[in-house]
Symmetry: C2
Subunit: 305 residues, 2 copies
């Protein structure tokens, strides 16, 4: 019996992964891919860690706004900040991922990168998912940790490509996933370089630099990695472009889409809109060559511990 | 006798490097730096390969313009393109690095990333330095290849941070320096994602995205790596900000500046202007904690073979 990926149940999805890894690493085989080209990219929210009831960055924005609102009460009366102070979840959801990122970026203008690291690190050590009652950093998916290990054992280089704020993810990616900071691509704000007290500092600015979502993901993969991935894993509207970019490269490729259909152990949700990239992906998986992964059926275990 | 860095002469510069590597890797020593923080950044033009009589990207721009000018004669009459067709070196130099990059970016609008890779690869295999009569890719500095190896042997991760076009450097960085494509940071143009004949393609646009020079180098280091380097190596106006960013991090750090003072084996040149970052670096090396490397005195060999 194959002992690899123990938290994955024997299924089509697991076979597709193991078969792919075997094919691209078999020397003199027809699908051999040299190690330098073995690039794997993973979405983060909902692919490597839990993103419900809201993506963790929503809670980060909320906590940061509360800290700033205390210092500047005028902020509390101004939209979009007001939505957070009013705990108006519908209004917050309306902002969308980009709107929430813009809030995070706006309230950190003038903060140095080193200081932001400390802020994000503290939040990550403490912040808890309100529904599941565990820390966000403990709600990473065990089957994915095994997949990352399997890929690295086979000389893949694994990257995160997330719509979430890059700097926050870098604060836990090494410890949680074994993915070094430089292998994290994500949304980012603009910066400047300033000399403060004899020290050169990266200083955050109020403007969003890159919202790393949808068609921007392949563009940022090109900017940061300079190679088309041969394996990509996503779960949402934001990931279809990355998956199809990976699958249309012309060589061997694997595109995986995690389907959140497990109301028991996690959450059950998928297409929020009839016309959306995720609906497109689910409806046309075969056409696009996508491999669907069912959390309910394909994963023996969801979370570690 | 220390057998490391054989192409480096016994000198202050060599001792500074070996001493630094020993200190940061000595477990339980006061200057120990854990492997995850061992980031080294190198400028490319004039630091890892020869940049005289003109930086190789000037010749790349010239060759590409000639190819495009043939297809579109109207281009030949228009400045700044005209300067290249007239072989007007003074006018070309006036454009500066950024101007030349803008020309390269402009003429490749609409070209896919994969096609550009092929174009750059062909040029790199053939293009020759007109003064030294060797291919540009053979005019890399042997002492630097040894230094990159030494650092990697000591669990450093080495990056290029160049004002030159990122995509061109990625075409030879793995073969020439052992630096993977994703560890190359440089100037870059804007892109779009387009579906062409069922294939998702990154397509180059006419606008410069990032001119990776001077104070932008630390900003791009933050964007791409997310850590402050502990070793940086440069040679020109474009590198002082990166060197000082490295040296003011608060922990152990080494900042190296290559001085081109070897008219015999390479070229002798330094400050072109009295007021310039390079003049500042040379005049204030001690203040800034910079280690000067003399090509003439500190290198036993310059080029391989």
């Amino acid at each position: 019996m194959d002992e690899r990926l123990p938290s994955w149940r024997a299924s089509n999805a697991k076979s597709a992964i193991l078969d792919f890894v075997d094919r691209v690493t078999r020397k003199r085989g027809p699908d051999f891919v040299p190690p330098e080209d073995r690039i794997a990219t993973f979405d983060n929210d909902g692919t490597l860690w839990c993103e419900r009831p809201l993506q963790p960055q929503f809670y980060f924005a909320k906590q940061r706004l509360e800290a700033f609102g205390h210092a500047d009460p005028a902020l509390q009366a101004r939209y979009p900040f007001k939505a957070f102070f009013d705990h108006d979840i519908d209004k917050i959801k309306e902002l969308g991922k980009q709107g929430v990122l813009e809030v995070v970026v706006a309230v950190h203008a003038g903060v140095t990168a080193d200081k932001f690291d400390a802020i994000a690190g503290k939040w990550l050590r403490e912040a808890t998912n309100p529904k599941l009652g565990k820390r966000f950093v403990d709600l990473v998916y065990k089957p994915q940790l095994e997949l990352l290990d399997l890929l690295r054992d086979n000389e893949f280089r694994c990257f995160i490509v997330s719509g979430g704020g890059m700097d926050v993810i870098r604060g836990f990616s090494e410890e949680a996933y074994g993915i070094p900071r430089e292998n994290v691509i994500g949304s980012s704000g603009k910066t400047t370089l300033e000399e403060r007290y004899g020290r050169f500092e990266i200083v955050k600015q109020a403007q969003l630099g890159s919202f790393d979502d949808r068609e921007v993901k392949p563009q940022n993969i090109y900017l940061h990695i300079g190679r088309r991935p041969i394996l990509a894993f996503g779960n949402s509207d934001g990931d279809l472009a990355m998956l199809r970019y990976t699958l249309t490269g012309g060589g061997p490729a694997l595109g995986l889409l995690l389907h959140h259909d497990d109301a028991e152990r996690e959450f059950a949700y998928d297409r929020e809109f009839i016309l959306s990239p995720l609906a497109d992906a689910l409806d046309n998986a075969d056409n696009y060559g996508l491999t669907l992964v069912s959390m309910k059926d394909d994963w023996e275990v969801v979370f570690p511990g």
